[in-house]
Symmetry: C2
């Protein structure tokens, strides 16, 4: 769940419907030369991410970057990809500079095909653009009664424990698993103390950064709460913040994601080739290969309900499990609209006008 400090202040909100957002985002991708089918899929990834309340990875931060990269020729809009190596349970894909939010759904579908045949499927992808919120691909598997897991190696923003400069990305890890009556478990977390996009968001809403989230330019964790006005003043810290608080574990999880995505794709990590694209790992576990699906869902329900109904500590309303507030947010936003910052609406207005598209309906 997103911290209060990151929400768009109500006075700056404009509410947009799911249908309108899907329509306009699809049209923007089509104008950039992406096929109608791929455009709809990319719009689905971004819209679902905004519906889940993960606005750091929805249209607000990401779409303008994608548009810029297509226009600059950094991304290839054409359909397809190249299978570099394949086995019954695995495949490695060269995305050939296609956008991650287009390649990602196909990567997880291929992993699921393999899982149906041999119990487990793993697909790695290299040479691609940004993947958005990888929890979306894990959820694809959960929606087909599988467990989905994703790892990403991308970027160069996180300082390893005791180092003085960033050598790793925020390298997120995600897992989704289906339940019956409870909302599916959906865990999707950067292995840094805070997601990179949350820093951008904090700067936009003028919110301070908390102790242990970032380091100074010498790699020393900043332990007082302070606002940041310039990304150039800071580096990011691994989850844990300081060695004593466990930053070596956040650092280790980031390296784990790097090995499972980048190294198993036969690619080079960003620390060796700065500016190289995102590398991803999609795993699907066919639940029926492991146990009875109905028993799995019953146990998930009992476990998630135990967490959801646990007595909360003083000052808290309730205990959450990963995916609960996201599921609630989807219901709420489908009914009431998706709150976008008015500045994001301004960007949409300019973009659609320039492309000769109808404006985003409000």
């Amino acid at each position: 769940m997103i911290l209060e400090r990151f929400k768009v202040p109500e006075k700056d909100q404009v509410l947009v419907s799911e249908a309108a957002l899907r329509r306009t985002v699809t049209q923007i991708f089509e104008k950039l030369g992406v096929s109608p089918e791929d455009s709809a899929e990319a719009a689905d990834v971004l819209t679902m991410t905004d519906l889940r309340g993960v606005e750091t990875h929805g249209v607000s931060n990401m779409l303008r970057a994608y548009v810029r990269d297509y226009k600059a020729g950094k991304l290839d809009p054409r359909p397809g990809w190249k299978v570099v190596r394949e086995s019954p349970g695995t495949a490695v894909i060269d995305a050939e500079r296609r956008l991650g939010v287009i390649v990602g759904p196909k990567g997880m579908r291929l992993a699921m095909d393999k899982a149906r045949r041999v119990g487990i499927g793993v697909v790695t992808v290299f040479n691609s653009g940004h993947f958005g919120a990888i929890g979306h691909y894990a959820m694809q598997a959960a929606q087909e009664d599988m467990v989905g897991v994703c790892f990403t190696g991308a970027g160069l923003s996180v300082v390893p424990t005791f180092a003085t400069k960033p050598l790793l990305g925020t390298n997120p890890i995600a897992l989704a698993a289906p339940a019956r009556h409870e909302a599916p478990m959906l865990f999707d977390a950067a292995t840094s103390a805070i997601a990179g996009n949350k820093i951008r968001l904090a700067m936009r809403v003028g919110s301070p950064l908390l102790p242990g989230w970032v380091t100074d330019k010498e790699g020393t964790p900043i332990m007082e709460e302070k606002p940041v006005f310039d990304r150039e003043e800071i580096f990011q810290a691994p989850l844990g913040g300081t060695r004593e608080q466990g930053s070596h574990k956040g650092y280790g999880f980031a390296l784990m994601a790097e090995v499972l995505s980048t190294l198993l794709a036969g690619a080079l990590p960003t620390m060796l080739v700065p500016g190289s694209g995102s590398k991803n790992h999609f795993a699907a576990y066919h639940i029926e290969a492991f146990t009875d699906l109905e028993q799995f869902k019953t146990t998930m329900d009992e476990m998630l309900k135990t967490l959801r109904t646990a007595k909360p500590m003083a000052g808290q309303e309730r205990v959450l499990y990963p995916g609960l507030s996201e599921a609630e947010e989807v219901l709420h936003r489908r009914a009431h609209g998706i709150p976008l910052h008015k500045e994001v609406l301004q960007w949409f207005a300019e973009c659609t006008s320039e492309m000769g598209l109808a404006p985003l309906a409000q």
Copy 2:
């Protein structure tokens, strides 16, 4: 790497050779009715763990618990296990109350067999005793030129974010990957702020617990440094410590381990059946199924060397990568002996004497 505060104080150390420790530990297992082959394997897991300097999970804390559980009839010493469900890439094993350090190596070997055939192999195990340091099983894969990954669901000691009582175990996650000239990457971390065994170790060496490591009995994170004399005074916090510092991520990683081990074994989590055994997940990735093995090792070397030779922050001697200090410790302890606390030697003396075995050679 273990914090200084957890090392056995020099005045309390007794040095024991690898060969002597293997011999005596093997003999103890044999006396408990375990086959010679299984006894040697269990002794290998424990001795390697002590050689790596992970004394929290070596003979000091764990062996006496294993001996106690065999004597109480909680563990079955006989060879074997039951395959409950199997597919080309997966298997689920009922360990039928066998000890984890005996079942673990076999679980990873079965995962590797499957990985050789279909690229990836996943084996889950339920109804077993304790697995020791799961990094050991990940290392089995790395030693055969695969990437090894393990997850564990076990225990009931960690309070989910905002809850008031423990509903999860310390649920560790481990990954090992081979390099060529560099030491293999070996990451093995509890998803709690601190491993459960480290609290026992801190109590033995009289060391204080740091802010964010534990909560009070109402689930509120304790944010001052203080010594703990009674495990009953505290619960454990997830990695991150507080919500603001990212405890929801540590909590999410613990649930991830629970789903991939317990739920995919068709078992029930400890929160639903307190006292139920350890559940484990062993995954082996056949590197050749993904990319050229030699290129993989070259990239691992370049990545790990970049980390190892990075400029350290003020006050630190060097930057480590997961597995580096463990590899150095193995060399050092093979040459100079394994330091055990004199109180542990006292336990060995009583145990061997009672069993009619020769004492542990010093």
